[in-house]
Amino acid sequence: MPDHSLPAPALAAPPEVPWPADTLTRVPYWVFQRADVAALEQTRVFRGDTWNYLCLEAEIPDAGDYRASTLGGVPILAVRDHDGEIYAFENRCVHRGALIALEDFGNAREFTCVYHAWSYDLQGNLKGVAFKDGINGQGGMPECFRMSDHQPRKLRTAVVAGLVFASASDTVPPIEEYLGEQILERIERVLGGRKPEVIGRFTQALPNNWKLYVENVRDSYHASLLHLFFTTFELNKLSQKGGLIVDESGGNHVSYSAIDREAEAKVAAANEYAAQNIRSESGSYRLKDPSVLAGMDEFGDGVTLQILSVFPGFVLQQIQNSLAVRQVVPRGTDRTDLHWTYLGFKDDTPELRRMRLKQCNLVGPAGYVSMEDGCVGGFVQRGVVGASDRMAVLEMGGSDAESTRTRATEASVRGFWKAYRAHMGL
């Protein structure tokens, strides 16, 4: 799918150290530091042969509803037209380049640029030019000017289980193929046939390169080591099984853990319920109000955690009953915006909705099991200063980027780099 016939990468200067071509286990730190790499990513990754999440279908339910976003740094509008379809086009006036829409979201009958009032329909077609015929026969646009010759760039859009994706590429494969069956299935598992409802939106400004965050999302190795909430409060159960799915491209992944019903039954049979906690030494801590973790098995499959990523910058999260989508937006070499949209479903029972709200505490910038992810990328970004000629080591769980039954692996991190290198031609 990525174009391997790309010309040599347009880096301003040769890299500080060559990136070994024959292994996925090394990542040179210069990829997190160089402005020329960041610029190239915008064209080859985000505006390249990729699908990028824009918003939820449920956020623009009615004709004229729109949401502004960016794709590869380019301002984009996603709009619902009267035909019920969603259109995406660059939020840039074809006259002299001003933003067409200034709000982040809203409802419009048409879009009118504030600068000289050129107007557009809901599909982004130029429909009106102020004073086109001049005033009192003076001025105006020349006879030969045709509005149809001047159109904002349109993007391809695709809707998957209520998620709106867009691509600036004409050659990207259809979204179903891009995601692959296994990823699609796990998106459907959470969102399929449901009516999602936004229950909160937050933006976390990360002090690091965007790739350090998407690595972290795919890094199942760190979870129990960096995030100590569950072990501190003795909430880790032995009777958990899990695994990792990495798709063929490497760029998409799912990491999951589930209650192992067999193991649980054995424990129960042995009447050792009390012993199923990993740590049970005295002097440890207990939650005063454990209701935060009284989750419900709403999908009926015992999966308590499913983190799913789509290359390059999309994440779908289920941590117990806490559901969210995350959009990763680069803001230069050492800044990233992480947009969280917390979800429920229209048919949530009051109890389930309350549980989702309580479990807000687990995720996001103040999340018990995720606040560390907000700062750890910055620790790397600061740590690798002056080390552009050095490399990260990704050998946990071997050297491949394949699906596995263990989470003690960096397979999906290697997968990300596999896809990244293919897109970047690096």
Partner: protein, 155 residues
Amino acid sequence: MIGLPDIMAAQARYARCIDDGRLEDWPGFFLPDCVYRITTAENHRLGFAAGLIWADSLGMLQDRVAALREANIYERHAYRHVLGLPLLEEAGADGTRSETPFLVARIMRDGATDLFATGRYLDLWRADGDGPPKLAERIVVCDSSRVDTLLALPL
């Protein structure tokens, strides 16, 4: 009857408690069945119920402190709260409501000082015996929709 001086005094003590790093004392400003939530102006305006922190019991606030002390990992930092004047609303059957603007500077371990958050406290106060009034509800509405890096210490 809860008056303006009572609320101002409670606010001042609340801010000093957090800024001095006495997190263990922080839940003591709340009643047992309290609500504490941190959200943003946009979420508040749109009626979105989620929060960066969402608690509906004193136990959840105590757990928050325990997690910050024992489990969560973040760089050492402190806040400096600067509070504006509380605006008191008519006392109702469920207590006295007030709105108080705040600025919070964040001082990192290397001395870097940023304006971390601005916003307002939407509070519901109730008398607690002869002692100072306590919070039955505090909705922290941050003006900006962005949070820098992470939000560890409470606002």
